[in-house]
Point group: C2
Chain length 697, copies 2
């Protein structure tokens, strides 16, 4: 999981409560041998929920996290074979499975010449060398497969300079240092993880003439302030003092050499000189944080490597050309028990249970289900992005929704879901029917609402969904393809820890025992995630009417509109077309909901329902405009593109307003505000048009 890229997007207004059109669906008893499902079968749903087994997930995790499996390593390739074997199993496999391999540019530290950070004394002698590896605390932190902590894609180089503490490495941090009269030219900036993206620290530093960047994990940010060995793993879930977070410092996502093209061998590759998005100066993550002059030696190497996605398919019985896509990445930084194997362990258990029903002839979904194990996510969501580049049109035409389960369990307190508004309803329907792990008899939904909630003007108090940034493999599905997406996990009780993320994130301490002892003993949270995802998959693939509630976008649009009116400093006259467009969307979405209700009461023709489902499926696509943000790569969703300001509103409009704020009226910057406003209005009007009765133009 690429955590830092989620920053700046926050928990959005993405979510509303829908009691769920689907709940009322009648179940048709299944027939053995020639199943021809008409609708979601509640009996099958119950069977699947009952068969998802915590102990099997635990055993999956043990195997998956047994060895380090960084992208393209031999062990990563072994796991490709493991997935293929599981998905081709005659008793519990899928209809078909295959690996598809891309040749992508990855970055690794040199094995012969490790990256080094030395502190230099007043006389020029080395007075301290930072650890090059983590301490071998549990026996799993040693060996040649544990990749040295490094900043992937940081350039090689051996800068020397005075150490300057630069807080988070944000632009403001460097400006503040300048204000204090501190010379930055030629220094080594010491920064701590968090606040801004990894690569941004180096980009910001280089603008001020900084020669090298060090990044460390502050115990205050991740360990609730604790740092001594007896307070940390293996004695608690906290990060041992020697732990260092690895990570990709690439600013974009996808293979750096083949933007917008699949990284197949024949594809055109950029010259390295023309690649953008790499950190401009040597950068290295470290443990220690001392004073005085520093020598930094970074020997990272760029390498073209083969990295595979594994895809497994259950063919739909009635509408095989409609895909419910469910995926997670496979590659880790070290053992990656939490990130990403906790998700892969769930993926394997889900595919086993569904595959077994399939092979027995008990069940076949109405629509196709595609399981995906992505490669090289940690380097920048590479496998999933290349996949969307290769099959752009096909996926855009046919994909009902994308469900991502990366880290399935951060902690065992509550469900956490990020997603676009149309998926809220199906998640609510699913979670109301599943018992929450832990004491008491709450549903996952009722437990969830205790931790994340908001007051919806439409539904009252409901669990709140977060919005999707670019932190995991859903990024290219939502931002590049415009497919309704969601990311599901179990997570913390925020009243119990202020850790930025689980403490051993991207370190050699993220192991099976860590998960087994501290995050989810008994694996009941894993099971809860498997049940939630499984129920969502079944509802999306088997329901006669697609359970995508497009009218739940109305609440988001209304709140974006109100925020724009209150906080962006643009005139009321400018808002008028936006108000009209939002009102049209609301009315058209509500009317479509009415037509669905009416149709559901009758005995609708499958072709009629297909046409209506196409409207629901394709609504998210109408928010794409590949020409809206010419400076962004892949981002073309006019509602969820990156937003710099803190106001949850239309991102293009918000960004343009913050650039225009200090310019004269009539400036180019104000023209861009007007252009962004028209882009949003055109998208909303176009979206509303697709919701109206199909023969109205």
């Amino acid at each position: 999981m690429q955590w830092t890229k989620v920053l700046g997007l926050g928990l959005g207004a993405a979510a509303l409560l829908g009691l769920g059109i689907i709940l009322g669906h009648f179940a048709i008893p299944k027939k053995a041998n020639s199943p021809a499902p008409q609708d979601l079968d509640l009996e099958i749903l119950e069977t699947v929920m009952g068969q998802l087994d915590a102990q099997r997930i635990r055993e999956n995790l043990r195997e998956l996290s047994r060895e380090p499996h960084v992208a393209s390593s031999p062990r990563d390739e072994d796991l490709v074979q493991l997935l293929l074997q599981r998905w081709k199993d005659p008793e519990s496999g899928l209809d078909s499975a295959e690996a598809s391999t891309y040749e992508v540019l990855l970055s690794f530290p040199s094995q012969e010449q490790p990256n080094v950070v030395d502190i230099v004394g007043p006389t020029g002698d080395i007075i301290h060398s930072c650890h090059r590896t983590e301490e071998n605390v549990t026996g799993e932190q040693g060996g040649p497969d544990v990749v040295q902590p490094y900043a992937a894609y940081a350039p090689s180089g051996t800068p020397q300079g005075l150490l300057v503490y630069a807080n988070r490495g944000a632009e403001e941090d460097f400006k503040e240092l300048q204000t204090q009269g501190i010379k930055l030219e030629g220094t080594i900036a010491l920064t701590r993880y968090g606040g801004v993206g990894r690569g941004a620290k180096a980009v910001n530093a280089a603008k001020h003439g900084v020669a090298g960047v060090l990044v460390y994990t502050d115990p205050a940010d991740i360990n609730d302030g604790l740092s001594s060995p007896n307070e940390t793993f293996p004695n608690s879930w906290y990060l041992p003092p020697s732990g260092v977070e690895r990570g990709s410092y690439y600013e974009y996502f996808g293979d750096p050499l083949t933007p917008y093209l699949p990284a197949v061998p024949s594809s055109f590759r950029l010259d390295l000189a023309n690649v953008s998005g790499f950190p401009p100066i040597p950068t290295q993550p470290i443990v220690c944080a001392l004073g005085c002059p520093v020598n930094v030696s970074v020997y990272n190497r760029l390498e073209l490597r083969n990295s595979s996605n594994v895809l497994g398919i259950i063919r739909g019985a009635v509408e095989p050309d409609r895909y419910v896509l469910y995926g997670n990445h496979r590659d880790s930084w070290v053992h990656g028990a939490v990130d990403p194997s906790s998700g892969t362990a769930v993926l394997l258990e889900l595919s086993r249970v569904l595959g077994t029903l399939l092979k027995k002839g008990t069940w076949r979904p109405r629509r196709s289900i595609v399981f995906a194990s992505w490669g090289a996510e940690e380097f920048g969501l590479i496998g999933s992005t290349e996949f969307t580049e290769e099959f752009f049109n096909k996926l855009q035409e046919r994909t009902v929704a994308y469900i991502n389960v990366d880290i399935s369990v951060f902690a065992n307190a509550t469900l956490r879901v990020q997603g676009t508004p149309p998926v809220q309803s199906v998640v609510f329907s699913a979670t109301k029917e599943i018992r929450s792990p832990g004491p008491g008899d709450l549903s996952i939904y009722d437990n969830w609402i205790r931790y994340f909630n908001r007051s919806s003007p439409v539904y009252g108090l409901v669990p709140s969904l977060g919005s999707l940034g670019a932190g995991s493999d859903y990024a290219s599905f939502i931002h590049f393809l415009g497919i309704s997406s969601m990311d599901i996990a179990y997570t913390y009780d925020r009243s119990k820890t202020s850790a930025r993320i689980y403490p051993t994130y991207h370190t050699a301490f993220d192991t099976f025992d860590y998960m087994d002892k501290f995050l989810d003993p008994g694996f009941s949270s894993h099971q809860a995630v498997a049940q939630t995802a499984g129920s969502v998959i079944l509802r999306l693939s088997d329901s006669f009417f697609l359970p995508l509630k497009v009218s739940d976008y109305s609440e988001t649009l209304r709140s974006f509109l109100q925020a724009a009116q209150q906080d962006l400093g643009i005139s009321l006259g400018m808002h008028r077309p936006l108000v009209t467009a939002v009102e049209k969307f609301e009315a058209d979405a509500a009317a479509l909901g009415q037509r669905i209700s009416t149709l559901q009461k009758g005995n609708p023709d499958p072709l009629q329902v297909r046409m209506l489902n196409d409207q629901l499926m394709l609504l998210e696509r109408t928010f794409l405009n590949p020409r809206a943000f010419p400076e962004e790569r892949y981002y073309s969703h006019v509602l969820w593109a990156p937003r710099t300001g803190s106001v949850a509103t239309f991102p293009g409009l918000s960004n343009a307003c913050s650039r225009a704020r200090d310019t004269a009226s009539g400036s180019e910057a104000w023209a861009e505000v007007q252009r962004q406003l028209s882009i949003v209005v055109t998208a909303l009007e176009g979206a509303a048009a697709t919701l109206r009765p199909v023969a109205d133009l």
Copy 2:
């Protein structure tokens, strides 16, 4: 019709003979009152063919061309009302009809201060003034509604300078003058129509310091060399000596102020200073072509005007969300009997015949049929382009095909069709069943093949379809939306005339009598076009299996590939992925054809056929890449974007190769060749993927 923009694209390799999957379809007898058509009804088809009436088309044309009706003029608005009245008629109207109005930037000569071109004598006195209007030969060339000949969007200005003859005004023409030592700075360039686009003449001239451009129609280009009054209209079809071609000199299409946005009142509009694509220097079309100094006075004004599209709909009975779109523009330069009213006269007759069947309850198509009368085409395809901008997603998701009939009759010798490969088969099926006008008992198909033919490796000798440039309203449908499109007309026997286009094109002599006496006495060619278009519409809207033969793209791709291998000077190694991609497309398209045949023999489920039809309908979309040609506006079809070279091959690749030819290997230009190659390969691989069985990923 914007004729000049067709240049440089030529008759492509777009077309192959398909005997037509559709011909074998069984007809189901129609039921009165509650028709639920399953497939094309041959009885209905025959009824429609029989009812399309040449005399009614003639009367339509008389009314439509009675008065000049330049875009946004009062008479243009009257015609909007005429169309609405016809389409809302209780006995022969459609299900619904409405006008939709955009506010667009047009350009007109000043009424108070006409544009003037004066020839100046050695002493500075005016020795000759060019005619400001055409001679009133038939009584229809006078009056305030006959817009003065002018170059729409040319800037105002009063340049004076020596007259230099610059042939076609192509870049080579100006270079040739330079080579001859002729000073171009400050001159007035005299150019003749044809060869390059209108606006390009001014763009090329301005690059050489030319101060103004005059454009005239050479009798050799349009009148087979004849020019005296008794040899020209009203005594023949040739242009009278005073005739001057008007036209838009805007280099792009769509409303110039709102690229990519619909020109609704609220949309963001570019500052005039930021508009690109206007001619850079004053330009004026004239008759006379003499020597010596010239004063040019252009007083054109830009005006924001309301211009309407009229849309009429017949709701589909079974798949109302699938649109067969049929359209033509309404606006003319003067009376516009040929351009565009001959097309509108056919449109009205087609809608009358289908509307009458509809209102009687005899028939309702399986899919929806949308009739469109576009506004402001002559200024740059504005009405149709704004429509595609406003409803981009909806149209892209749902449109089966776009059929354009602009000028329906250029002359009465033969059918002429431009289109993308998937439409070839349905046009062949239609034209084989309709009798050709004129003596003999040939079908339209058999007559057509005598004039335009080619030897297809697949089918043998077949009529050849031309490829679609940007000469009429199909442009945004094919290039911007990726919708399979065609343009249908009756045209010349090229052995009888070398006229660049019919001689009175865009002049005040393009009148009803001109058509009635010289181009299509008896209106049988109009009837032939109406029958062809009508049959195509019925086949596309009523056939159970869509009659789009996607495998006909294989022949085009193969010929593009061969041309690339032979003529582009790139290495065999570079071709390999292209060869593989073309082979994959061929195999996947052929296999899909097999599956269709098999399915047709059985009793397929409507949902099964719908899924298959979606593959056929959406194939053309897979060739779009909005990032392929960042410097082009709207063009995103990787097979049909503008191509500068004469080799019929992949345009992006061809253009990149011609730019790279004189550069060193390793240059940026060669990198662009590689990039374009990958864009084509990715598109072809992606297209093939959409043709494979839908549950294969």
